[in-house]
């Protein structure tokens, strides 16, 4: 205590206190405010760089179909080759690219989910293109991790919502199903929580769009919880047979069940008893 009192009496102490107070306030301010002034400067430089990267990636990988300004392209007969991306938002780009659908190989047909091409295996590149497209005309943004956290969703509500909104295409357990016109709803066993959210938010291809009025963010998180928990839960009754319903059961019954029984019947009737001497 004594030393501190002595120290306080020094001539520069007043300045020191003011300085410390200022610095603390600054640090605290910086910590609480989303973008500190000092950080802003260096961030905007980085952002400009990211944007440039995004634009470059877009020009190299996407512009051949979507046009140099993402305005979409048409063939000589005026039919659309690829749609405009103005206003589709980062969510749509993130979904399409991170599921490997874009860049498309074969425009016109339904794009299957596949491993993303080399450049887009780096999440930073995906984020950059998404941000670039977002900058062109806004649109739904990529959901925050908290919004898609399956742990936080109400799974019972999610099940109900899934059965009324999604099961008619994706099947009760998310195993996928056929749609009219050669289209299909893919199985949901690999989609990440973020992709599930984005799929609902942007309605890719033949899938309807579920905006935040049809399904609130809370409802979306519930659905994510249901999908994730359902695909992770083991099958208590043995092999799940693809979880596609009674067709697989019928096939198993006829092949495995009847197969085993008929084999046994053949064996049992082919065995002749040893000759008896009586």
């Amino acid at each position: 205590m004594k030393r501190f009192t002595a120290w306080r009496r020094r001539p520069w102490a007043g300045y020191a206190v003011v300085l410390v107070a200022l610095a603390t306030t600054g640090v605290v301010y910086a910590g609480f405010s989303p973008k500190a002034d000092t950080a802003e400067a260096s961030n905007s430089a980085a952002a400009a760089q990211d944007m440039a990267n995004g634009k470059q990636l877009f020009n190299q990988n996407c512009s051949s179909c979507h046009g140099l300004n993402a305005q979409g392209t048409k063939d000589e007969k005026g039919r659309q080759i690829a749609p405009s991306l103005i206003g589709v938002g980062a969510a749509s780009v993130d979904f399409q690219v991170s599921t490997g659908r874009m860049p498309a190989m074969n425009p016109g047909a339904q794009m299957p989910r596949k491993k993303p091409v080399e450049v887009f295996r780096n999440p930073k590149n995906v984020a950059d293109v998404a941000a670039y497209v977002q900058s062109l005309g806004g649109g739904p943004t990529i959901p925050a991790p908290e919004q898609v956290d399956p742990e936080k969703g109400d799974v019972a509500l999610g099940g109900k919502l899934f059965r009324t909104n999604c099961a008619q295409c994706h099947n009760f357990a998310g195993s996928g199903g056929a749609l009219t016109g050669g289209k299909y709803a893919p199985p949901l066993d690999e989609s990440t929580p973020t992709q599930i959210y984005e799929a609902m938010l942007t309605g890719p291809y033949a899938m309807p769009l579920f905006n935040d009025t049809t399904l609130t963010p809370e409802a979306k998180r519930a659905i994510i919880a249901y999908v994730v928990q359902t695909r992770e839960e083991p099958n208590p009754g043995g092999n799940g047979l693809g979880r596609i319903g009674p067709v697989a059961e019928g096939i198993a019954g006829w092949t495995v069940g009847m197969g085993l029984l008929v084999l046994a019947a053949m064996w049992i009737t082919a065995r002749k008893p040893k000759k008896q001497h009586d």
């Binding site: 799974v155 019972a156 099940g159 109900k160 059965r163 009324t164 099961a167 008619q168 295409c169 994706h170 099947n171 009760f172 357990a173 195993s175 996928g176 199903g177 056929a178 749609l179 009219t180 016109g181 050669g182 299909y184 709803a185 249901y226 928990q229 359902t230 839960e233 099958n235 208590p236 009754g237 043995g238 092999n239 799940g240 047979l241 979880r243 596609i244 319903g245 009674p246 067709v247 059961e249 019928g250 198993a252 019954g253 006829w254 495995v256 069940g257 009847m258 085993l260 029984l261 008929v262 046994a264 019947a265 049992i268 009737t269 082919a270 002749k272 008893p273 000759k275 008896q276 009586d278």
Partner: protein, 559 residues
């Protein structure tokens, strides 16, 4: 006649019972009844034993299942559904699945047994059909069999509906649509069945009573009748050496056949337990409770209802409006016509065939399918028709798994269902005749031995050997169809009964039945063919021994 004596341990109690019940030698005689052996004769046993297992496991399920549509909020071991509103039927099925010890296993055995039961009935009926075993005197049992099959379909449909999950509710909705589509009485019928508007409160309790009491009771009675008639008439047998229309060649019921049957029952139970342990069936917890506003891709019924589902999917959307009433052809035709034709046709077939062929004899030796080309071809045509409808019932799964368009599958099946049966008929008939021809050749020139001989002239020939006795007996089992007297004899006098249109039709059918047949004649006697191998020789002897045992009761009754 008996040269096999039952062991003392069995003989004594039998004698005891026979003495008390005044049945003289009833039991002893019946214990020695001969049962012919052929693997396809076991198909009926599969159905019988699965039925027994259905009764046992079903009774277990009734101990916990609550047939009630009362709404409850689930709170149990399957946490994913905690807090969800559902019917008591659904929640009690969840309870059986997750909280009753062995409950899931029992549910799965019950359901797999239902699948195997229906599969076995189908296979059994096909065996009976293609071997002509339904012919006189067994027409009654054929009719009982068709009744059992129909009841089995209903029983399965109702059982499937009991847990009140999403898929079973979808199935009930279809049932409701089908009932409603019946002209005039449809709406009343449906309101009566459901006790009001769909789904209502009463349908599950009603289906429950029908499922556990009414239909099993009727089925049990029919099965008993089926078996008693079979016992009395004795089994048919496959044609081979030493088997005639007058005897039964096989093993005595006791001890051999009974031991085999006991083992087979245990084996069936084993297979069902294996399936139920390793293959999940009807995971109602994944389907979720029934919710009229929800539906799932891949909503299918069990396979035995698949043909009905397929018919509904293929039918174009036709409706007409008559005096303010909508006639839903789009539901009525597919729901009633295809299966109606198949079942009615199957029931009438023995009588149509008898009428057309004029064959009034009793048959105890089965036909080889090739020797009845019209019957075999008809059967294959029906199987094709049914099979295509069945596949069409799973067209969404086909489209999804094989990446073809759903629309394309629908159109493909529409045409295939109409054309396929005719093609199948023609192809099958050709194949049958081809096989008859090769039989005739075997009888005339022997079979190709695969031994090539060089003649002194340098010519190579393949040595043909005379068919061994066994084979010859099988081939010669063919019976030639009997032609009805021609419409007019040589003098132009019309044959009796052929003057009316019906008689005319009969003659034409008769000609259709008999026109293609390859006559088969015994070759140059069959003195040599025997004794090609010791194994074979032993089998023949065994057969003969069994004849002796079997005919003890066989000959007496059959003549």
């Amino acid at each position: 006649m008996s040269d096999v004596q039952a062991p003392k341990a069995v003989d004594a109690p039998l004698t005891f019972l026979d003495d008390r019940l005044g049945s003289s030698t009833f039991l002893k005689r019946n214990m020695k009844k001969a049962f012919p052996d052929h693997w396809s004769f076991m198909l009926g046993e599969i159905a019988l034993f699965s039925f027994v297992i259905l009764l046992l496991t079903g009774t277990f399920l009734t101990l916990w299942f609550k047939p009630s549509m009362l709404e409850v909020v689930y709170d149990g071991s399957y946490t994913k559904l905690n807090g969800v509103k559902m019917s008591e039927a659904y929640s009690s099925t969840l309870h059986i699945t997750f909280d009753v010890r062995g409950g899931l296993l029992m549910r799965q055995i019950h359901h797999w047994a239902a699948i195997l039961f229906m599969a076995a009935i189908m296979a059994h009926m096909l065996r009976v059909f293609f071997t002509g075993a339904y012919r006189k005197p067994r027409e009654l049992n054929w009719l009982i069999g068709i009744g059992l099959f129909t009841l089995g379909m209903l029983e399965g449909l109702f059982g499937y509906s009991l847990p009140d999950d999403l898929l079973s509710g979808t199935g009930l909705r279809i049932l409701q649509g089908v009932a409603q589509s019946i002209p005039v009485v449809g709406t009343y019928l449906y309101l009566f069945l459901f006790g009001g508007e769909f789904p209502g409160e009463s349908i599950i309790p009603r289906l429950f009573t029908i499922h556990v009491l009414l239909i099993p009771g009727i089925m049990l009675a029919l099965i008993v009748a089926h078996l008693m008639i079979m016992w009395h008439q004795k089994h048919t047998q496959m044609p081979t050496k030493g088997r005639t229309n007058q005897n039964v060649v096989g093993y005595p019921f006791y001890p051999l056949y009974m031991a085999k049957q006991g083992a087979y029952f245990l084996y069936i139970f084993g297979v069902l337990a294996l399936l139920a342990t390793f293959a999940q069936i009807n995971p109602i917890w994944l389907f979720g409770p029934y919710d009229p506003s929800a539906i799932s891709a891949g909503s299918q019924p069990d396979f035995y209802m698949g043909a009905l589902e397929g018919a509904l999917r293929l039918m174009p959307n036709w409706e007409t409006n008559v005096l303010g009433h909508t006639l839903s052809w789009n539901v009525m035709i597919p729901a009633l016509v295809p299966l109606g034709i198949i079942f009615t046709g199957a029931a009438l077939f023995p009588f149509i065939e008898r009428w057309a062929t004029g064959d009034q004899r009793s048959h105890h030796i089965n036909d080889r399918p090739r020797n009845a080309p019209v019957r075999t071809a008809t059967g294959v045509a029906v199987v094709t028709f049914y099979g295509l409808l069945w596949l069409a019932g799973g067209n969404d799964v086909i489209a999804e798994r094989f990446h073809v368009s759903l629309f394309a599958t629908t159109w493909f099946f529409r045409f295939a269902v109409l054309l396929g049966p005719f093609l199948a008929f023609m192809i099958t008939k050709r194949i049958c005749l081809g096989l008859q021809r090769s039989d005739a050749a075997t009888m005339a020139h022997g079979y190709e031995s695969g031994v090539i001989k060089m003649m002194p002239s340098g010519e190579f020939i393949e040595v043909h050997l005379e068919a061994p006795e066994e084979q010859a007996a099988v081939i010669l089992s063919k019976e030639e169809g009997k032609s009805l007297p021609a419409a007019r004899d040589d003098n132009g006098i019309p044959a009796p009964g052929s003057r009316n249109p019906l008689g005319h039709l009969r003659l034409r059918l008769n000609r259709f039945w008999n026109v293609d047949s390859i006559p088969i004649e015994a070759g140059h006697g069959n003195g040599h063919g025997n004794g090609h191998g010791d194994g074979e020789h032993a089998a023949v002897e065994d057969g003969e021994r069994a004849t002796a045992i079997g005919s003890g009761s066989g000959t007496g009754d059959r003549s």
